[in-house]
Symmetry: C2
Subunit: 182 residues, 2 copies
Amino acid sequence: MAVSARRGSPLSREEIRATALRLVDEGGVEALSMRKLAAELNVNPMSLYHHVDNKEALLVEVCTNMAERLHLPPDDGTPWQEQLRALGRAYHEHVRAHPALWAYVHGHPELIENRKLGLWEVLYRILRAAGVAEEELRRTSDVLHAFVTGFIFSEVQGHMSDDPDEIDRAFEQAMDIIVKGL
Amino acid sequence: MAVSARRGSPLSREEIRATALRLVDEGGVEALSMRKLAAELNVNPMSLYHHVDNKEALLVEVCTNMAERLHLPPDDGTPWQEQLRALGRAYHEHVRAHPALWAYVHGHPELIENRKLGLWEVLYRILRAAGVAEEELRRTSDVLHAFVTGFIFSEVQGHMSDDPDEIDRAFEQAMDIIVKGL
DNA sequence: ACCTGAACACCGTTCAAGT
DNA sequence: ACCTGAACACCGTTCAAGT
């Protein structure tokens, strides 16, 4: 039969997603093509369209799936300054695990339900603890998110120093400015 | 002859660059193809390769040309806080004039000789006036650049409010945090 | 239900040929 | 010197056909 001729098991959305993510991690988003992905899965390119609407829908799935794995620090009762730093660090770590895909998400924010990421709830909670007025939560969180994302993106793009220690120092300084400036 | 059969004058680098920029401004970088660009110029696709090495080289030219037109505020003797704000605003304005291309530059920083942009000299001067130690200039300027770029990128990507006044307020808050946090 | 081959409309780019 | 047509190796995707 067609199935076991080339592969042991039928394709699954999960398998497709994982392989696509691997290709992106290895060679950037521009290294992902439906045809290469199919080759990687030992499958005819057209088989993919049975499981995914099109390339963009696949990317949405891969991005969303990745973003959902962001580990958010819990409310541990420490001062808001410390919690804001912890949130920043968590975001930082997560982006470093999949830099190419994050760079893509950053450039195509329409692909992801950004506001539903839980990240925003945590950020709101911390900002409330910092005494930010209710009507300024949206604006302040937008600014902070843009700052931290800007920093991480810069790093991921190789704008920053190559020395990891120096990058950590820069990140701490970034969080210092935010905490102090708030 | 081949030339005047379709066009009055021979192609020029300048004409190619300007048309490419227009296509990008109108439809994003993904709307620029060598074939469409040639059609726009009433020329055979292959004629372009007589003036430009390849698509990437063309993009480098277009990006660099645009970035060089960033108008940097002069040292007018005002306090560093005010000068830093003015620099931020100048950058902000410039990006808003070519959002699609800037988004692309932001995602492909290797295309541009970023550090030669004059912007950095001005930023260094202002940070010195703010009392930043010589050995911290590089790190601090990296962080600030990442912050401002992050903000503008967020805005350009439609992450922020749709209300221009609200965006201006957010930008002022962003600059407040930076000035105060420094 | 799942997979496939041929085909279509696009790319960027090379190369040999035209004026 | 400048332009061009045909060709090559890639894309994403549709559609009708296979099991």
